[in-house]
């Protein structure tokens, strides 16, 4: 009969006490596993956003972290807005000209050119050939001189280094979820995933929203998977964003849901995306200007602001932030350039997220881990108490074993084995329970974070040297053995020191 059998029998003999002790250990280890799983979820969630698909966020000056939180994670309040023409500095001439074509300055120049043309035409009829030539030459010189002054006639300042820049207009909500005014580029150019190579997919018969459609005008929306599930939204439904906060008044403008995003594990699952043109056309969204004309002025309801051919003036547009992908070679220089100016700030979101993890999330995780390890240690102490309390009852049994020829070391090992069996069985119960708990909540976790986690999912390695190559759960077992040895030491020593003659009785 081996020592393990003897130890197990002894445990079974004290069934209730042993079971309670193991449950206590199971709860402790279950908590450790759960905390390690949280490590994993945070890590995976971070990895899922590790590339983001863009490498720079540009927004109003203020806190860098706040800019990242509200433009990447749609958390926290937006700082301020930046002018639309700053966004256009990241666009090529063609886009710029199109966007500026609705602007007051563009129209003013057009008026000016028309007036000059009229003046020129009237002058041509009354002057001499030399005068005609002089008038044409003067007009050409004026045109040439003005050319570089028109912003729509040149490339954006940063466009040569920019792959794309996606504008974000924040401020409205659907229930607790952020409404993001943006362009269709958000889902046609942006990719996601650990390698940044996955396209956004839409459920069923959905599609990306368009700049303008005959059916819905500027008012189309895409809904993130979590929002769709939570709010019961489907393609064809309409939404009325509420203004300014979750409790704000709902806008009268309705947006038609044209697509539901498949779950991506990114913050985009928890947001509603509407056409930026529609965003501006909601009441109080376009920037009011002084001395606006009545046709396309502040009194928007009175005008054909929703007409397909109406381009909202650049002067009336602002954006909260823009997501920019640019050549990394130039990104640091451009970041400096943007930050040195007094209009906007540029941040590298990954750096900020990493900083957030390092300075806040990781310490909290470590604290949690320390707390749960302490709980485990308390469970270990309960094993110590359980075995130690049983020692007075078992002293005669130990004496009998000794009388039968067991050496001191043998009874020491038996008690130590009991401690190990209690720790390991309790620990395994905890590991299974912890994984069961994770599996039970896997649906909720996936909805909230996009991280898919199952019963057999092992926690990631801990971010410490040496330990960072194996799953942290593999450390639980040796830690339990160590704990068992530590807590088993006192009762085992007591068994070792048992005075056989006194304890044997008759």
């Amino acid at each position: 009969m081996n020592l393990l059998t003897i130890a197990v029998r002894s445990i079974k003999q004290r069934f209730l006490s042993s079971t309670l002790t193991m449950i206590s250990m199971a709860l402790g280890v279950g908590l450790v596993v759960a905390v390690l799983a949280i490590f994993g979820i945070v890590q995976k969630s971070f990895n899922a956003n590790a590339t983001l698909g863009y490498n720079m966020v540009i927004g109003a000056k203020g806190g860098k972290l706040q800019l990242v939180l509200n433009s990447v994670y749609y958390l926290s309040e937006p700082i301020e807005n930046i002018p639309y023409d700053y966004y256009l500095e990241f666009q090529n001439q063609e886009v710029r000209e199109k966007q500026y074509s609705g602007s007051y300055s563009y129209k003013a120049v057009q008026h000016q050119q028309a007036a000059r043309a009229t003046l020129l035409a009237s002058g041509l009829g009354v002057t001499s050939p030399a005068g005609i030539v002089a008038a044409l030459a003067a007009n050409a010189i004026v045109e040439q001189h003005h050319e570089h002054l028109y912003p729509w006639k040149r490339e954006g300042k940063y466009s040569a280094f920019t792959d794309f820049a996606i504008p974000l207009c924040l401020g409205d909500y659907v229930g607790p979820y952020r409404v993001v005014g943006t362009t269709p580029d958000m889902f046609s150019l942006l990719k996601y995933g650990p390698k940044g190579d996955q396209d956004y997919q839409l459920d069923g018969n959905g599609r990306n929203f368009d700049y303008f459609t005959e059916e819905n005008g500027f008012f189309e929306a895409l809904v993130g998977s979590v929002v769709a599930e939570d709010r019961g939204l489907k393609v064809g439904d309409t939404i009325n964003p509420s203004h300014g906060s979750t409790e704000g008044d709902a806008h009268a403008t309705k947006f038609v849901v044209v697509g539901i995003l498949e779950s991506t594990g990114t913050p985009n699952d928890r947001a509603v995306f509407i056409n930026m043109e529609g965003f501006y056309r909601m009441s109080d969204h376009a920037k009011p200007l002084e001395n606006e004309d009545d046709v396309y002025g502040t009194n928007q309801i009175a005008h054909k602001i929703t007409d397909a051919d109406y381009i909202l003036p650049v002067e009336k547009r602002e954006i909260t932030a823009m997501l920019v992908r640019m050549d990394p070679l130039y990104s640091i220089g451009i970041e400096n350039q943007v930050n040195e100016g007094n209009v906007a700030q540029a941040v590298f979101p990954i750096t900020e997220i990493r900083r957030l993890l390092d300075y806040f999330v990781s310490p909290v995780q470590t604290l949690l881990l320390v707390l749960t390890v302490l709980i485990c240690f308390m469970s270990g102490v309960s094993i110590l108490v359980s075995i130690y309390n049983s020692m007075s009852d078992r002293r005669s049994e130990i004496a009998v074993l000794r009388a039968l020829g067991a050496r001191r070391g043998t009874v020491y090992n038996i008690v130590l084995l009991e401690s190990m069996v209690l720790s390991l069985v309790g620990g395994l119960m905890g590991i299974i329970g912890g994984h069961g708990l994770i599996a039970a909540f896997s649906g909720v976790i996936e909805n909230q974070t996009g991280v898919q986690i199952g019963f057999f999912e092992l926690a990631p390695p801990l971010p410490f040297p040496v330990l960072n190559s194996i799953s942290s759960e593999f450390l639980v077992i040796p830690c339990l053995v160590l704990l068992a040895i530590i807590v088993g030491f006192i009762p085992a020593t007591s068994a070792y020191k048992t005075d056989v003659s006194k304890s044997l009785g008759k």
């Binding site: 009969m1 029998r9 020829g405 067991a406 050496r407 056989v500 008759k506």
Partner: protein, 237 residues
């Protein structure tokens, strides 16, 4: 086979003095010899058995057994020697409650052999009349049956010496004789030396050799004389 010379054992008292319990100039038991040990309560009989088995260290003297001087043994050597060569039957049986009858016997083998002999353990339990109780735990057996298991366990390693410390004291009179006969016969069958401590005169009277532990020394006594002496000092009969 067993030879004790100048054995002395004392225990410390609260006042710092030491109380002498045993002072035995000479004591011998031959192979297969059966000896009954009588004496008043607290007279040192159990201490003597503990001393012989190495459970208690003696203060001085020599204990030779099977041509080996046990008193020179380290504790662990003595543990191993005890496991292999000395069987012990207790007054309170001292069976382990978590184990069945068979397992209690196997447990007796565990510390002497690497692989316990299941067949022999089975045979032993059949020998003591418990072939039908192999899988019963102590609390499922009568006291008489428990002591039979204890006897089987003591014999499990084919010892050369059996120490029985009042083996019938907790057993009803009807079963006492059965236990004594069992121990005697088992020892005779295997030529095992026996030292049996008892207060029961009807038990002692069944043995040819009776020694009396008197004033910390052992003295040999004629059976009839010692019986009357014991009765005169008010021992149980």
């Amino acid at each position: 086979m067993l030879e004790i010379l100048d054995l002395k054992k004392s225990f410390p008292q609260p006042d710092g003095e030491r109380l002498a319990i045993l002072d035995i100039p000479e004591f011998r038991v031959d192979a297969g010899e059966q000896v009954v040990l009588l004496g008043r309560s607290g007279g040192g009989k159990t201490t003597l058995l503990h001393g012989i088995s190495g459970i208690t260290r003696i203060d001085s003297g020599e204990i030779r057994f099977m041509d080996q001087e046990l008193t020179r043994f380290s504790e662990s050597m003595w543990d191993r020697f005890r496991a292999s060569n000395i069987g012990y039957v207790f007054q309170t049986f001292n069976l382990l409650p978590a184990f069945t009858a068979l397992e209690n016997v196997l447990l007796g083998m565990s510390f002497a052999k690497d692989v316990p002999d299941h067949k022999y353990a089975n045979w032993l339990l059949k020998r003591v009349g418990l072939g039908h109780r192999l899988d019963h735990k102590p609390d499922q057996m009568s006291v008489g049956e428990q002591q039979r298991v204890a006897v089987a366990r003591a014999l499990a390693n084919r010892p050369r010496l059996l120490l029985a410390d009042e083996p019938t004291a907790n057993i009803d009179p009807a079963n006492q004789q059965g236990i004594v006969s069992l121990i005697k016969e088992a020892c005779e069958e295997s030529n095992i030396g026996l030292i049996l401590v008892t207060h029961a005169m009807e038990v002692a009277s069944q043995f040819d050799r009776i020694d009396y532990l008197e004033n910390i020394n052992l003295v040999a006594a004629e059976a009839t004389a010692s019986m009357s002496a014991v009765e005169g000092e008010g021992y149980e009969s």
